[in-house]
Each structure stands twice: as structure tokens, then as C-alpha cells.
């Protein structure tokens, strides 16, 4: 909402300085976006000085001038004027300027092979005089210190731009703003002086509001003004329209706009001679069309509120008029409309047709239904003043009587909500200044709410009105109590925070990426999850909710590879989506690692990252979070986006149905498809929702400390086994032989190749044997040794390697 302070003062008698008014606007809740001069088209005309004028190399009558326009460097302008000479002060028009006389637009152009950055203007071109021989010569005395300044004084007043919240439709007119300021003590709210206008004859175009279901119009007021002479608006009106940032059109249109911005009362003027017999306000039928004043043709749906005549639709009520009945300079007779349209109906129609107009913006927020006569009177009077014409009596059709909202307001509610007290008298004064009619009872007020405040419907709204006018600075600052009755985080949240920092501590950088992604990449990772499409995505490559964290991680990994990084470790913890219903989401950690370990480290041999790096990070993270590493079980099954042979899943326990994590290499086909150039790429994922609540608290997690000081023995075994036998199984077989004696089993070598049949591999294990109650003798050890060999051979078909 834009206006000038002078305009405001037409409604407000105040001695406040401009900056005080601006401050007060903010204080009462009318946020000031800006308070500045409006840019004028004439701002691009500068006072300039010719530093040098040389003959144009290719044209006798042209000169190439170096011109000082107040910037660091001079610019070159080609000029044909004979008086263009060194040290002349003149007027320069920059690129984009429009020459007042011939409306020609200046561009940077080549003139006979020399580029000219603008134009030096003659007095005639500037409409200053008829002098067209040569460029303007400015007086040294007056202009020598003005170089680079605007040549034309910008006499348009500074404009206030307010950002009006959707509840305050009343402040979409200058008068409403003045009322608020007056209530806040800025000055006196002026009464509108309405002269008695002479109304003669009846409005003889019949108006009817049809009784459609969900009729969007409840009041339609109109009057005829006959014998007008439409013309350009007078200067005062043009200035007002321009200060709003709009272009003046014609007196009639400008007047209707002016009244809308002044009183927040939208109006519409029809060329009465173009109306076919009568006005019918009705619901549209699907397929009806009309051409609106924005020169677009609209095809209507059912049940849109239209103003029509016998021939069809004239306009969309409260939104936009049509070209068929629009006023023009030759319009003789006009029908002026002031109506009330229901916000819901306006909103629905304008959304469907995607139209936004000043009238729509206002009706959608709620217009004062009792401002019809005032609006007609004000506009008719102005039209009569400027364009002449005879005003008819007003015709007001309505289907609904408006009653003011009544609210019973308990005076104590104010202090209860705001925490501070003000006198009842002051509350009453504020509310009455805002337009409320008040009857005071002992502890409460009976209020009639003004018709221009559709936002005030209940007692709490009254509290807001009083506290905002009184000033929020009156609210006390009560120090918060430092009492905690509930844990800040629940178990799942603690786990989230712990895992997040645990993964980061392993060298991964945390990324936060969109919850949406490119369906083409997502497709590669989505498995059997439903694709969740966004109906109105920000761009076509962010069109689905992510089914996995990996699409984004892979995408950004690639971007970083392209930046020249090779060894990248990234992770993200966040939501992935299984469906489009609330709650169909999982919290997942995705981590990805590329390149080499120990790249360019002088004392270590480098190697590619591999599956066991990812596995280690996953297992260590889970273990750090309090899950027993010894109970973990690994399967070689994993989602299809993993390398089928080089990936696995981690279960907290052998008997669990759902894995808590996956690890492995990404499927080579995906790497190829996404064109990722890296030496090696591994990743892991942890599903937080699959992690069972770790019910054991830290204090209970420490079992009794038991240890053995008896001699421990280590024995090495090498077994030749089928290739498909898993190390995990061998370890399990050995451990379960005697859980008391076998303290640990370590795999220290895996070998395939020479001396081993091609379908076999050799696994070397180191077994630590120790008793907790005696030193084992050689024969005990021998027995265990043999037991280990025979059990492994029997259970796995392995052969001890001799």
C-alpha cells in the first residue's frame, strides 16, 4: 500500500514530523517497507560537461565528445550539434532515457562506426523551448558544481510503502491508515466533508442479483452519470495516481482508482451505452468467455460471480472489468458500480483464473459493506467536477442486510493476556477512536464493531487492538524460570544427535540437502518405495520427494569431484519418504566415501577405499551408540543399487528380521549412468527407525568386571574352504565350541590362487584360548586344537591346511 504524507494529511490533522509518523506506523503494526522518492523517468537526464570534442573520423558534421557525467571515467557521445565544444555544460541523456519531445528511446549505438553512449540534448528535445539549433548550453555559474546531478528536479513527494497484513483490509485505503494513527495519538482524524450532490432522475438500467446458490455478490449499488466528457486527469489527480506507482489513464478510470486507494472502496465504471439493456449479477456457466481489461480472454467455469447484460458477461465481479463495456475518452454516459463481493468467492475465482488486481486484493480481504453510498457519492462528485454530467439517484440492490458484529469484552482479559494494566477509560478511548460503539457495563464492554473491520470477531481481537495502539513497548519482560520437569530430548532424538556426531567424528562432512530430488536419479535408488511427486516443483529436476538419501549425496559428490576433490567423505542424516501421507517417512543416515586412503602420505602406502572402510564406519558408529558389536550379524543381501557382490547388511542380532544398516559399493551401472568419475566409491546407510530402543541405560551397561590372569595361548589355523563359505560362519563355529575357553577368533589372512583349487579359498584364523580357572596344560590345548579342526571340518566341509 503506497501513499504520500500529504495525502495522509488530507485525513489526518497532525503536527508530527514525517519520520515520527513513519515510526508510529510501525508501532501500530503497519510495517513500513520503504519511505523514499519515486524513481522518475527523467532521472536519467544528467548535467554534463564536455571535456573534449573531436571531429568524427567518418563524418564531417559529427563530433565525438568525451563527456563528464560525474562518474569515474568520461564517456563517449557522438553529437551533431555545431555548438558541442570543449568545456560546455549541457544535458546528457543516458541509455534508456525517453526524449520528452519525440518519445524516442536512447540506446547505446554505433554512429558511423563510433559507439555513442547516450545523447546530448537540445532545449527543444527537452521541451524547454523551441531552440533546436545545437545542444542546451547551461550557465556555468549555476551548473558548474552540478555535474552528474539530475537535470530535472524530481518534485514528486516521497512515498510511503506499507506492507499491510492480510487482516487489515481497512488500511488498504489512506483513510484507514489515518484512523489508526489518530487512535495512536498522532493527530486528529478529519471528518469527510461531503457536499450535497444533486441527484436527478432514476438509474434506469435495471440491476438484479440472481438468486444463485453461492451467489458471490450481496450488494450492488450503482448510479448513472449522463453527458460526461472524459479527458486526461488534472495534475493533482495524475500526481496522486503516479505516487502510487501507477499510470494515469483517463479521468474516469483515475477517479475510480483514486477513491479505491483513498477510501478502500473499489468501484467500476461502465460505458452505459455499451450495456445491453440491463445488469444481471449471476453465476457463470462453464464455457462462457469474456475479454478482460488486461486484454486477455478468459474462459469461465461454473459458479463464478459475473456482472452480465443481455448479451453476456461484462466482467468478473470485484476482480476485473471487461473490454466490451469499458470507458473510453469518447464515453458519454457511464454507469458507476459500487458493490460488495464475498471474500471466499473472490478468492476462489481469482485463484482458478490466476488474476490479481487491486480490487480483487481488497475484496478478498473484506471491504466495508457499508461504504457503497459513500464511494458512489465521492466518485460521482469528482466525475461531475472534472467531466461534468448529470448524476442519477442511486440504485442499491441487496440480498443481505449487514449487521455490525457485537462483542462482549471482559475488561480483565486485557491484563490477563498482556500482563500489564491500563485504565478502563483508556481502553474505551482507544476502541472508540477505532470506530467501536461502546456500552460500558461494570466489568465488561458491549461493543459494536465498525463495518470496516471484518477481522475483529472475538474478545481476543479487542485485546490486540488495544495493546497495539497502546504500544507493545508497555509489555514487561518477565525473566524465564530455570526449571526443567521433562527431559529435553527423548531417546530417539538423543540417538539422532549421537549418531550424527559419531559419523562426523569418522571424518565425514555433514551435508544438508533438499528433501526432494530429481526423479531420474531417485528412480535408481527408490527400490519398491512409492514415488512421491510434487505437483508444483521449484524446477523439473527437483520434482519428487527422495526415497533415499543417496540420490542427493551422489549428486553432490559428483559436483565436488568436478571441483577437483578426489577423497570425499560426505554424510547426511534426515528424512526419506515411503509415501505421500504424513508420517510415511524414515530417518536415515547416508554416508558416502570416494577416492583413496593415504593419498600422498609420505610414510604410508595409499590404497583405494573399499567395502571394509564403509563396514567399519557403520559398525563402529552402531557400537558407539551402545549396540553390542559381538551380537551383530552380517548378510550379503542388500538393495539393488549396491554392487551385488560387494555389499552387505548389518543386523543387530542374528534373529532380527530387519537390517539396521547397509554397506558396500554402489552398483557400477549407476556410477556409469550418472557419469561419476572416481577411483573408488563406497557408502553405508543406517536406518534409525530400525534401531531398537537401547533400553539399557549407561549405568546398567557395565557388567561385573571379570578377568583371568591364567596363561593364554594363541593358535593359528589355516582352513581350505569352499569359496561360498563365510568367515562369519567359521568364526561362529569356532567360538561356539567352548565359549569359556575361546576368548577371541581373528581372521588374519584370506588367500585364493596358487596351490588352492579354483573353487576354494584359504582362511587363516588366530584363536586365543584361555581358561578363567587354571593354566591350561599342553594336553588341554591339544584337545581344543583337535576339536577346533574336527568341528570346523565337519560343519563347513573345510580341510585344515597342512
Amino acid at each position: 500500500m503506497k501513499f504520500t504524507i500529504a495525502w495522509l494529511k488530507e485525513h489526518l490533522d497532525t503536527k508530527y514530523k514525517d519520520n515520527k509518523i513513519i515510526e508510529k506506523l510501525t508501532d501500530v503494526g503497519l510495517e513500513v517497507e520503504s519511505f523514499e522518492n519515486v524513481k522518475s523517468e527523467l532521472d536519467s537526464f544528467k548535467v554534463a560537461k564536455i571535456i573534449n570534442a573531436k571531429q568524427h573520423p567518418n563524418a564531417d558534421r559529427l563530433r565525438v565528445c568525451d563527456v563528464d557525467i560525474g562518474e569515474k571515467e568520461t564517456i563517449k557521445v557522438v553529437c551533431g550539434a555545431p555548438n558541442a565544444k570543449k568545456n560546455l555544460l549541457t544535458v546528457y541523456a543516458g541509455p534508456g532515457s525517453i526524449i520528452p519531445k519525440n518519445k524516442m528511446k536512447i540506446t547505446i549505438s554505433k554512429i558511423r562506426g563510433v559507439t555513442s553512449h547516450g545523447m546530448l540534448c537540445s532545449e527543444s528535445e527537452l521541451n524547454l523551448s523551441n531552440e533546436s539549433e545545437g545542444i542546451t548550453e547551461l550557465k556555468q555559474a549555476k551548473y558548474s558544481d552540478q555535474i552528474g546531478k539530475n537535470f530535472f528536479q524530481n518534485d514528486i513527494e516521497k512515498v510511503v510503502d506499507l506492507s499491510i497484513t492480510p487482516n487489515r483490509s481497512d488500511c488498504l485505503g489512506v483513510r484507514g491508515i489515518a484512523r489508526d494513527l489518530a487512535a495512536a495519538g498522532v493527530g486528529k482524524f478529519k471528518k469527510i466533508q461531503i457536499k450535497n450532490i444533486e441527484k436527478k432522475g432514476s438509474q434506469n438500467i435495471k440491476v438484479s442479483i440472481s438468486k444463485d446458490k453461492n451467489q458471490g455478490c450481496t450488494i450492488f449499488g450503482s448510479c448513472l452519470i449522463k453527458g460526461v466528457k472524459n479527458k486526461e486527469s488534472p495534475k493533482w489527480l495524475k500526481d496522486k495516481i503516479e505516487s502510487l506507482g501507477q499510470k494515469p489513464i483517463s479521468a474516469i478510470v483515475d477517479i475510480t482508482n483514486y477513491v479505491m486507494f483513498d477510501l478502500n472502496r473499489p468501484l467500476h465504471a461502465y460505458d452505459a451505452d455499451k450495456i445491453d439493456k440491463e445488469i444481471i449479477v449471476r453465476n457463470s456457466k462453464k464455457g462462457e468467455t469474456f475479454e478482460a481489461l488486461d486484454n486477455k480472454k478468459y474462459k469461465l467455469d461454473d459458479n463464478m460471480c459475473v456482472i452480465s447484460d443481455k448479451s453476456g458477461v461484462l466482467g468478473l465481479g470485484g476482480i476485473i472489468g471487461g473490454t466490451r463495456s469499458g470507458t473510453e475518452f469518447n464515453t458519454k454516459n457511464i454507469l458507476l458500480e459500487a458493490a460488495y463481493f464475498i471474500p471466499k468467492s473472490i478468492r476462489k475465482t481469482s485463484k482458478l483464473l490466476n488474476i490479481n488486481t487491486d480490487a480483487k486484493f481488497r475484496f478478498e480481504r473484506g471491504i466495508d459493506p457499508k461504504s457503497i453510498e459513500e464511494g458512489l457519492t465521492r466518485a460521482a462528485m469528482l466525475i461531475n467536477e472534472i467531466c461534468g454530467g448529470k448524476i442519477s439517484k442511486f440504485d442499491i440492490q441487496n440480498t443481505k442486510k449487514y449487521k455490525k458484529i457485537k462483542i462482549k469484552f471482559k475488561l480483565s482479559l486485557f491484563e490477563k493476556v498482556t500482563g500489564f494494566k491500563i485504565k478502563d477509560k483508556e481502553i474505551i478511548k482507544i476502541l472508540s477512536n477505532l470506530g467501536c460503539e461502546i456500552t460500558k457495563k461494570k466489568y465488561e464492554l458491549e461493543l459494536k464493531i465498525p463495518s470496516w473491520r471484518p477481522d475483529i470477531t472475538q474478545p481476543i481481537d479487542i485485546v490486540e487492538e488495544v495493546v497495539r495502539i497502546k504500544g507493545y513497548n508497555n509489555i514487561e519482560t518477565l525473566e524465564p524460570e530455570k526449571i526443567r520437569n521433562k527431559d529435553t530430548l527423548n531417546k530417539q532424538q538423543k540417538l539422532f544427535h549421537f549418531l550424527q556426531r559419531s559419523v562426523a567424528s569418522k571424518g565425514y562432512y555433514e551435508a544438508v540437502t533438499w528433501s526432494f530430488t530429481d526423479s531420474k536419479i531417485n528412480e535408481l535408488f527408490k527400490e519398491c518405495k512409492n514415488e512421491v511427486r510434487i505437483v508444483n516443483p521449484i524446477s523439473s529436476d527437483l520434482n519428487v520427494l527422495r526415497n533415499s538419501i543417496l540420490p542427493n549425496l551422489v549428486f553432490y559428490l559428483k559436483k565436488n569431484l568436478d571441483r577437483g576433490f578426489k577423497d570425499i567423505s560426505l554424510f547426511e542424516i534426515g528424512p526419506i519418504f515411503k509415501g505421500n501421507q504424513p508420517g510415511q517417512q524414515l530417518t536415515v543416515i547416508g554416508a558416502i566415501k570416494s577416492g583413496k586412503i593415504n593419498r600422498l602420505i609420505w610414510n604410508e602406502k595409499d590404497r583405494l577405499v573399499d567395502v571394509f572402510d564403509a563396514k567399519k564406519d557403520a559398525i563402529q558408529t552402531l557400537n558407539e551408540a551402545g549396540y553390542d558389536k559381538n551380537a551383530f550379524f552380517i548378510r550379503d543381501k542388500s538393495p539393488s543399487y549396491y554392487h551385488p557382490g560387494k555389499s552387505g547388511s548389518i543386523y543387530l542380532d542374528k534373529d532380527d528380521i530387519e537390517p539396521v544398516a547397509y554397506f558396500g559399493e554402489i552398483h557400477p551401472n549407476i556410477i556409469k549412468k550418472l557419469d561419476i568419475n572416481t577411483e573408488a566409491l563406497v557408502n553405508f546407510e543406517i536406518y534409525l527407525d530400525h534401531l531398537k530402543d537401547n533400553k539399557i541405560m549407561l549405568k546398567d551397561r557395565k557388567s561385573k568386571f571379570e578377568y583371568s590372569d591364567y596363561q593364554k595361548s594363541e593358535r593359528d589355523f589355516a582352513f581350505i574352504v569352499d569359496k561360498n563359505i563365510k568367515a562369519q560362519d567359521l568364526i561362529e563355529i569356532i567360538t561356539s565350541i567352548d565359549k569359556n575357553l575361546i576368548k577371541s577368533v581373528k581372521v588374519f589372512d584370506v588367500y585364493e590362487g596358487e596351490n588352492i583349487p579354483s573353487d576354494k579359498k584359504s582362511i587363516a584364523l588366530n584363536v586365543t584360548i584361555q581358561s578363567s580357572d587354571k593354566t591350561l596344560e599342553e594336553k588341554d590345548l591339544e584337545r581344543i586344537n583337535n576339536l577346533i579342526i574336527s568341528t570346523v571340518e565337519n560343519k563347513s566341509g573345510a580341510k585344515i591346511r597342512s
Binding site: P166, K416, L478, E510, F577
Partner: protein, 355 residues
């Protein structure tokens, strides 16, 4: 007797010369070997006259100990000298780089969320969460923003179906609704999380983070709201004093509503929070609208309280001097390294927010 005295003097003399380990061992054999001088002297013990025997034995033992001692210390001396001379050749260039350090990073958004949680924890708030996908009821209608409300336009909502029933939450406020529906008052929660609006430029990104606050009890008023936010802002920016301005505003789900500005000044192109005469809008808040309370079955005649919503990313930008919001989500390794936090820097109540 004189024999052994002589042996002693001779050998003490020898042992005080510079010797190598072999020479010392040779001396050891000469003295204590099977036919060593001392060993043999002990063998002679039997032939010594009985009245002298005791003294002889005592002297012999004394000499034996003395020599042995000397030999041991000589050996030690040689060994130490040997190590010392070896060390001269073991000098390495310690300025060579250490092995690779695995330094991970926590994203500024996560760090700021932890800081916020830590501050509100101190004054009794607990953390609640809600789904990213919401239906329009929880995101709008239950929050007193019915279908025909113009405020809905200001949200630039991402929809997941044509009926506009399902959407990505445009703010964290639906968590208020969910929290109040599943439990009974009093409520004292914050709800940090992802939020979405289809808007993208220098200062807007289609996904961003908000933290919602809600405190409902029997007599929570605007003074408590002011106090809570004043406390939070001071703690968060780690300053003693903060200039704060409450401006009336409008949100459908609070009444009265306010926007809060904090004072700042520019020093060397950097924003300094807490002083100065410029204002920066940082959050929206207000008293929870009675209609919202009714929608979640809380009696507005008995309970009242405040709610607020703060942009987390924006807080992080202000505190840590980050200029571009979009960089948060661009996963540039250099940016993450620069603005990320050490995972050990866990903000906590007793240790403080920063090191």
C-alpha cells in the same frame, strides 16, 4: 691376603680404563669364571688357617662385591654410551607431516539446532518433532487459516496432490497442533525442523529450517513471551545485552501477534548483534489464538500461552557471518570445511555454547 688385595687393585685399575663390552666380559671371566681369580680364591678358603679364615672370607666377599659392582656399572656405562652414540644416527626430520587426520564436520544448521535446544533446555522446554509431509488441516486449517484465507497465499506451498490436501509443511507450526492433540496441558516445547516453500532467490530457498516454540499454561502472558525471547536471543548471540523491538503484526494462529526485531550495527562490513540503531527482523510470535486451542481440545478460558517461530538458517547466518542462504544446501566441500563445526564441539548447558 695380599694376593687378593693385589687382584682387587689390579682389576679396579683395569676397569677404570676405557673398555668395550667384550673386554669387560673378559675381565668378568678372569675374575669370576670357573678358574677365575676370585673363584679360585674362594676355593682356597679351605686351606686358610682356621683363625684367619673368617677374616679372609669376609675380605674376599667384600672384594668380590666391590669388583662385581664395578663391572656392572661399567657394563651399564658402556651400554648407555652405546645407546647415546646410536641416537646420534637416529635423528629424523620431525617436520615431516604426520599421518592423515580424519577431521569430520558438523553442518552449521545442525550446530545451531543443538545450540537452540541447549538454551531452551535450560528454561524447561523439551524438543518435539513432526512429519515433513503434512495435510492441509494441520498446516493451515487447524492453525486458524481456513481455505479462503489470503494468508495461505503467502506460504507458496508445495503440494503433493491435485486436491491440495497433502503438502510439504510450510512452517513448523503443525507440530504445535500435533503436540497439543496427543497430550494435555501444560505444554512447553520447541520443534526444530525442515520447512518448505516454493521460493528461491538469494534470501529464500525452497527448503529451510524453523524452530517453533510453544508454552501453554494457566497464566502465561505476553510478558513471559517477551522474557523468553529476550533470554534466548541473549544466550544465542552470547551477548550481555540485546536491543529488542516487538512490533504488532498478524499471523492467523496467534492473537495478538508480533514480529521481533533486534538491534545491530555494521562494523567492518560485519553485523554486530546487540548494539546500534539498525533493526533486523528475526522472528514472529504471539499469543496462541483461542481458535487454535479450541481446535486441539484445549479450553481457551482455562489455558493460554504463547508461540513463536524462528528461522534457524537465518540465525546461523547472523551468528557465524554467513552471507548466502543457498550455500547451506549446496554441499560444497570447501564451504562445509570452512563453516562446519568439529563434532566434539557439542553445545551444552554446563560447558556453554562455544569453546
Amino acid at each position: 691376603m695380599s694376593d687378593i688385595k693385589k687382584i682387587k687393585d689390579d682389576y679396579l685399575g683395569k676397569l677404570s680404563c676405557e673398555l668395550n663390552l667384550d673386554e669387560v666380559n673378559q675381565i668378568k671371566i678372569e675374575l669370576f669364571g670357573k678358574n677365575g681369580l676370585i673363584s679360585n680364591s674362594f676355593k682356597e678358603l679351605g686351606s686358610v688357617q682356621s683363625e684367619d679364615r673368617k677374616k679372609f672370607a669376609s675380605d674376599l666377599n667384600f672384594i668380590k662385591d666391590e669388583l662385581q659392582e664395578k663391572i656392572n656399572s661399567k657394563i651399564q656405562e658402556i651400554e648407555i654410551n652405546e645407546i647415546n652414540s646410536k641416537l646420534k644416527n637416529e635423528k629424523i626430520d620431525v617436520t615431516l607431516p604426520e599421518r592423515d587426520i580424519n577431521q569430520g564436520k558438523i553442518h552449521p544448521v545442525s550446530q545451531v539446532i543443538d545450540e537452540i535446544s541447549s538454551i531452551f533446555s535450560e528454561i524447561g522446554f523439551s524438543v518435539e518433532e513432526g512429519p515433513d509431509v503434512e495435510n492441509q488441516h494441520y498446516n493451515f486449517t487447524a492453525l486458524n487459516t481456513p481455505d479462503n484465507h489470503p494468508a495461505r497465499d503467502m506460504h507458496d506451498t508445495f503440494y503433493l496432490d491435485d486436491k491440495k490436501e497433502l503438502l510439504l509443511r510450510t512452517h513448523t507450526s503443525p507440530v504445535q497442533v500435533r503436540t497439543m492433540l496427543k497430550s494435555k496441558p501444560p505444554f512447553k516445547i520447541i520443534a526444530p525442523g525442515r520447512t518448505y516453500r516454493s521460493d528461491s532467490d538469494q534470501t529464500h530457498s525452497p527448503m529451510f529450517h524453523q524452530v517453533e516454540g510453544l508454552h501453554i499454561d494457566k497464566d502465561i502472558n505476553m510478558g513471559h513471551l517477551k522474557g523468553c525471547l529476550n533470554y534466548f536471543i541473549k544466550e544465542f548471540f552470547e551477548v550481555d545485552k540485546i536491543q529488542m523491538r516487538f512490533r504488532p503484526s498478524h499471523f492467523p494462529f496467534t492473537e495478538p501477534s508480533a514480529e521481533v526485531d533486534i538491534g545491530y550495527e555494521l562494523k567492518d562490513g560485519k553485523i554486530v548483534i546487540g548494539e546500534g540503531d539498525k533493526w533486523l527482523e528475526i522472528l514472529g510470535c504471539g499469543m496462541v489464538h483461542p481458535n487454535v486451542l479450541k481446535n486441539v481440545n484445549v479450553n481457551p478460558d482455562k489455558y493460554q500461552g504463547y508461540a513463536f517461530g524462528i528461522g534457524i538458517d537465518r540465525l546461523g547466518m547472523l551468528k557465524y557471518g554467513i552471507n548466502d542462504l543457498r550455500a547451506f544446501f549446496d554441499t560444497d566441500y570447501r564451504w562445509l570445511n570452512h563453516f562446519g563445526f568439529d563434532p566434539l564441539d557439542v553445545p551444552s548447558n554446563y560447558r556453554g555454547l562455544s569453546r
